[in-house]
């Protein structure tokens, strides 16, 4: 194990992981080493580039706090998040499709009664959101836990405001006996992902725009069903075909319709996949 060179080091490193007791960890780390080394070898990574990579990853980690997750953002813009979602959510036809969770889901959102205004002061055009939570067989799913969150009209989630006390445009509701839900919020607008950190620098250097099409996040949990993490995207948005995080599903695109009284409304039903082990 001396004098390792670029032709011998990969197998030597993999051999060093041979005693890993957990087979899945061994499989993942072995594959990771193979691809990490192949990346360095195929690009003939220089020592200066290696050092830049170390600096980039360090800065990405240090940008994270309890309100900001820059590594999720990095995973999102590299398409790794959506690839992972796609591989793990191959649901039966008829189920609502999943998409990325994104970096702005946080624990501790306030609970609201049906009909409440989850905007809680967030700026935007008022709207009503209505729908039902159903099972794959068409059955109502009562008492489902429905978590919603979205950016305001300025393009910011509540947690992006340093000095905001309490949550805005974010809340948890429960479906009624017929699986129905309704709440007030604000109309979703397109916004740029946070670009004041390392991920923003990467997008600038590669001339990629940071925009996401307008969307409303949902995470729906109900006993006997798989958890659904998804968005509803707004029809007509100019970024539907170039989402910075590759998350758009045509089946999730819907209309926020302006009513005669000026109020917007969105109607969307969710269909959950039964758990295989419940």
């Amino acid at each position: 194990m001396r004098n390792l060179n670029q032709d011998t080091i990969t197998q030597a490193v993999i051999a060093r992981f041979a005693q890993t007791p957990e087979p899945r960890l061994k499989e993942v780390v072995t594959n990771l080493v193979q691809h990490l080394h192949a990346f360095a070898r195929e690009t003939h990574l220089t020592e200066a580039e290696w050092a830049q990579g170390i600096e980039f990853l360090t800065a990405t980690g240090q940008k994270c706090d309890d309100q900001r997750q820059e590594f999720i953002l990095l995973s999102d813009v590299l398409g790794l998040s959506m690839l992972t979602v796609a591989m793990n959510n191959d649901k039966p036809q008829g189920c609502t499709e999943a998409t990325v969770v994104g970096p702005f889901h946080v624990e501790g959102a306030p609970h609201y009664a049906l009909g409440a205004d989850v905007a809680n002061g967030a700026v935007g055009q008022p709207c009503l959101v209505r729908g039902r939570v159903l099972g794959l067989g068409g059955e109502a799913v009562p008492n489902a836990v429905i978590e919603v969150w979205q950016a305001d009209a300025a393009g910011n989630y509540d947690v992006q405001y340093a000095d905001l006390a309490g949550h805005r445009a974010r809340g948890v509701l429960r479906s009624d006996a017929e699986g129905g839900f309704h709440f007030r919020s604000i109309v979703a607008e397109p916004y740029p992902i946070p670009n004041d950190g390392p991920v923003g620098e990467l997008l600038k250097a590669t001339r990629r725009h940071p925009w996401r099409p307008a969307h409303l996040h949902f995470m729906i949990k109900a006993e006997g069903y798989e958890t659904l993490t998804t968005h509803v995207f707004r029809n007509g948005d100019p970024y539907l075909d170039s989402d910075a995080v590759f998350g758009v599903r045509q089946s999730l695109v819907a209309d926020w319709v302006q009513q005669p009284d000026g109020m917007f409304s969105l109607d969307f039903d969710f269909v959950l996949n039964p758990s295989s082990h419940d």
Copy 2:
């Protein structure tokens, strides 16, 4: 660019980087996306594993400060550092071989006159280190900047002590008119790499030992020559064949010899590669 799945997303992400103006950045990021996605696809990475990976990278970044570089440590234990060194230091026969810089090189080491004791109070068996800096043609290299650093007998570098004022077992010297240098320090001992962070958890979970064979770091800079970053390893060390960071070169192994007066001595000459563009 809607409804991307695991078969189509990789090309879509690569296409999004198509406008990158700097060709090298485009090449590196394209290759990175290919291998990152292949890793996820081949392991069929689950959403829980993806989240664990995000947490691991975040914790690794947050463990870094101006005295600790956990991402270099991660690169080291995955063999990426040594692979990069090996690819970029294919020097002519006769030159001293390079090895990893490691996570404990810091700027601002104190300057010493030849003959000084760079230990500066670090605990260990005293020793004298002597040698010459030469060019590939055998010529003396005067006035070379020789930076040295090492762990103490307890296995710690100075920067690992939270409350240590000033540097220990770390210094910068200059070679004399004949390329010669000599200084006092302490005998190198084997030590475990820091294992109180995410990298330590990885080593524990994979049953890898954290030990490095005893070594003394050198970084040598001289006008007209390529910078040499290397170690001298101690002959007879039990970890020479299982260095936790894969850095051992047989040509860098030497004896610390105990003299009749009890003092140890190490003699080692360094041969620099002329710069191609000086």
